[in-house]
Amino acid sequence: MRSRAVGYFRPGASWLHARNPLTKLLGLLWVLLAAFLLPPWALIGLAVGLVSAAWSAGLLGDLVRSLRIPALLFASILVVNAFFYPGAGERLIPIGPVGLSWDGIWFGVVSAGRIVVVFLAAVLFLFSTLPDDLLEGLVARGVNHRLAFVILSAVQLVPRLQTRAAAILDAQQARGLTVTGSLRTRVRAIVPLVGPIVLGSLIDVRERTFALEARAFGALPRRTAYRTVADPPTDRWLRAGLLFAIVAVFVLAFSGVLPR
């Protein structure tokens, strides 16, 4: 059972774990821009870079396992584009007005590739960053601590929901709810599964508000910090480099110097 306290964090002592959360956040932003603005061949470089980073940080196994979750999404992006790409030139297998086309396959592969790369980068960020370090890092940069806490809660929301969803699935199946089988059966199972998640989350929010109030969260305009988040010179240089790289991506993407 994974604990909820640390969200997706996988403890470690690698170079990636040691980076300041803001450096990693900036890196994530750069990967996002590069994946969508640069020509498709750049995706190969980004993917290789991310996989090597994960390998050197001892997170490759976790990263590969995490790909199981969105695998269906990637596959559907690929298939939908391959068959339904509008204005496709030559259709390999025409099916009425649509059909399998080279243009569609290419577009599907590129779209799925972009999302895979961004997904890998985001997961790597979550795996190597303790949510609390992110919070303190943001507050240290002048972000309002309430806003920072909202961001932190968002990062932790998914693992919390996963735990709850598993419990709800158990409880409804135990009342005879069938969740496998025909499409009709599956659709009918949605309300009994999603209903308690939504209603339970509302109760959860109320109780979490109580918990924060009881601990005087937000009582004073300023707060002190127990954790000190390391920000070595390497990180400052890295962030300067990343800012430059972000500008470079924009310049390269919109100047037309790169071959498409």
């Binding site: 059972m1 604990s3 909820r4 306290a5 640390v6 303790l130 949510p131 609390d132 919070l135 932190l152 932790q156 709850r164 419990a167 709800i168 158990d170 409880a171 409804q172 199946q173 135990a174 009342r175 005879g176 709810l177 069938t178 969740v179 496998t180 309300v191 009994p192 999603v194 209903g195 308690p196 209603l199 339970g200 109760i203 959860d204 109780e207 979490r208 508000t209 109580f210 918990a211 924060l212 109030e213 009881a214 601990r215 005087a216 969260f217 937000g218 009582a219 004073l220 300023r222 707060r223 002190t224 910090a225 127990y226 954790r227 000190t228």
Partner: protein, 567 residues
């Protein structure tokens, strides 16, 4: 103005949108070094009083409030968070939810409150260490809060409030979700805090906690119906009139003619009972609840053989468990949190599958059957009702299970009616389950499984959060289910509930069964040390009986008194 840590005078509270007030004309004072207990039925206003005392009403929870409330010298009804921060702390029943749930260690969990009070970093560790040491949990400092046991978490939650310098501690059913060892832990802690000069206001059902109070307030429908030492307030004349069942020890002390001061003194109660010849109470009137008899599915034996279960993290939760349950048996499963009780019962309806061993119902291995296919045979009521409630009306929710069994509409309707009346929810049929309190939502969840008329009923901690009459209701349901020849298996932390309503008690420890027998034998004096090794103690009546003479352990006060009267 007095020196009281909390002073409430003429308090009335009405929630927005409600016609009936939650509290009316309540006055109380809690002085430093004093524990004041609040007892009452579910809905009597205990939580509301705790929320006012903790400075949450009207600041966090909106309500119309009249009267005067002072926390220290601060007018709590007009105060802002900065004025109250660090002066009062409130602890709720669910420890996991009141921890910030983002901190990797207990130390940082405690630091969270200090950060919010802008305590300089250099002072934090000393303050944290001193509170941890005082609460005897220094060894937990570097552990992960959410990985701790319930009792440990509740200690951490209390520590996280105290570290802020709080001199007034308000607790709202702090032991509702704890096992017996955890409850004893919290009760002892409150005593230590009071001895330390803190003021404590605690709303509770558990007699183990209320007995620590110097004074107890009994609420009924929002009004104070009695105040006095626990031995008086919880006795038949005050608590009994407020619809509560007096604690077993208090009942025995009254029967023995002891003064209220001795109401929880087991030695004096035993001595007085030995001397006197108390009159036997009348035989209990059997509450005849009618169970649904629409499906009449056959009741089959359950066999769990050599079952081993490992979680994904490698922890072996069950280490070779074997248990045979004959049709029509009522089995209570007891043991500490983490002893494997829930893991074991989840194998009976296939929610968990054994790593080794087998589970069969009616002689057939259930390995190939899905959970929803077993649901008609094994009804399973979960600990948390909110994991299953999703309908806008109680009756629709209760009908969900029988509809899944694809029964004809008239049968579904008959089952829903029967289940609603069993659970005492007929008047609430049109209510939205989420407008009901937690303990009533638990009864809705129970009814929604009873409506499937399962020949085998499995309950995971059905009495959590129920007041005395609520526990009685669940007990009568168990009795009538079994009287109809059906099987009931329940996990419980309430030993008296186990002894009164179950013919067989199974004790678990570290993923194994360590004791199995009728309650009279399991709770008898010769098993006390084995029980203690599992963090359990026999129910109060059995403890008193053990001091008198070694006969089979009686389940409750009435049973003990009858034994004595018979000589």
């Amino acid at each position: 103005m007095t020196d009281a840590a909390l002073a409430i005078e003429g308090l009335s509270v009405r929630y927005i949108g409600r016609r009936e007030p939650a509290l009316q004309d309540v006055s109380l004072e809690v002085a430093p070094g004093e524990i004041v207990g609040v007892a009452g039925r579910t809905g009597a206003g205990k939580s509301t009083l705790a929320l006012v005392g903790g400075g949450f009403i009207p600041r966090v929870v909106r309500a119309k409030v009249d009267g005067r409330v002072h926390i220290g010298h601060v007018d709590a009804l007009a105060a802002t968070l900065p004025e109250l921060a660090g002066k009062v702390g409130i602890v709720f029943s669910s420890p996991a939810l009141q921890l910030s749930s983002s901190k990797p260690t207990v130390r940082e969990e405690l630091a969270f409150g200090l950060e919010n009070l802008a305590v300089p970093r250099a002072e934090m560790d000393a303050r944290i260490d001193s509170v941890l040491a005082r609460l005897g949990i220094g060894h937990l400092a570097e552990r992960e809060p959410l990985a701790l046991s319930g009792g440990e978490q509740q200690r951490v939650a209390i520590a996280s409030i105290l570290v802020m310098g709080t001199s007034l501690l308000v607790l709202d059913e702090p032991t509702a979700q704890l096992d017996p060892a955890g409850t004893a832990d919290v009760a002892a802690l409150l005593g230590e805090l009071a001895a330390d000069g803190r003021a404590v206001l605690v709303a509770e059902h558990a007699a183990e906690v209320l007995r620590m109070a110097g004074e107890c307030l009994v609420l009924d429908a929002g009004r104070v119906v009695g105040v006095g030492p626990p031995g008086v307030a919880l006795g038949s004349s005050i608590a009994g009139r407020a619809g509560l069942r007096p604690p077993t020890l208090v009942t025995l002390a009254e029967a023995a003619g002891l003064p209220p001061a001795a109401a929880f003194d087991e030695e004096r109660i035993a001595a007085a009972l030995r001397r006197g010849r108390p009159t036997a109470p009348p035989e209990p009137t059997t509450t005849d609840l009618s169970v649904p008899t629409v499906r009449r599915a056959p009741v089959e034996p359950i066999e769990v053989r050599d079952v081993v279960h490992r979680y994904a993290n490698g922890v072996e939760a069950l280490r070779g468990v074997s248990l045979t349950v004959a049709p029509g048996e009522a089995v209570a499963i007891v043991g500490q949190n983490g002893s494997g009780k829930t893991t074991m019962v989840k194998h009976i309806n296939g929610l968990l599958r054994p790593a080794a061993g087998r589970v069969s119902i009616g002689g057939a291995d259930i390995a190939g059957r899905s959970v929803d296919a077993i649901a008609g045979q094994v009804g399973f009521v979960f600990q948390n009702p909110d994991d299953q409630l999703f309908h806008g009306r109680v009756d629709a929710e209760v009908g969900f299970g029988p509809r899944n069994l694809r029964l004809p509409a008239d049968q579904v309707a008959a089952l829903v009616e029967a289940a609603l009346s069993l659970a005492g929810l007929v008047a609430e049929r049109q209510t939205n389950p989420y407008d009901l309190g937690f303990s009533t939502r638990k009864l809705v969840a129970l009814a929604s499984v009873l409506a499937m008329e399962p020949p085998i009923l499995v309950l995971d901690e059905p009495t959590t959060g129920q007041d005395g009459p609520g526990v009685e209701r669940v007990g009568s349901i168990v009795d009538s289910w079994q009287a109809a020849g059906r099987t009931v298996i329940a996990i419980t932390h309430d030993m008296e509930f186990a002894a009164r309503h179950f013919g067989r008690v199974v004790v678990m420890r570290d993923g194994q069964l360590v004791l199995d027998g009728p309650p009279g034998e399991v709770f008898a004096s010769d098993q006390t040390s084995l029980l203690a090794s599992t963090g359990l103690v026999p129910p109060p009546a059995a403890r008193i009986a053990a001091r008198l003479r070694p006969f089979a352990a009686p389940a409750d006060a009435a049973a003990l008194l009858r034994l004595l009267a018979a000589g």
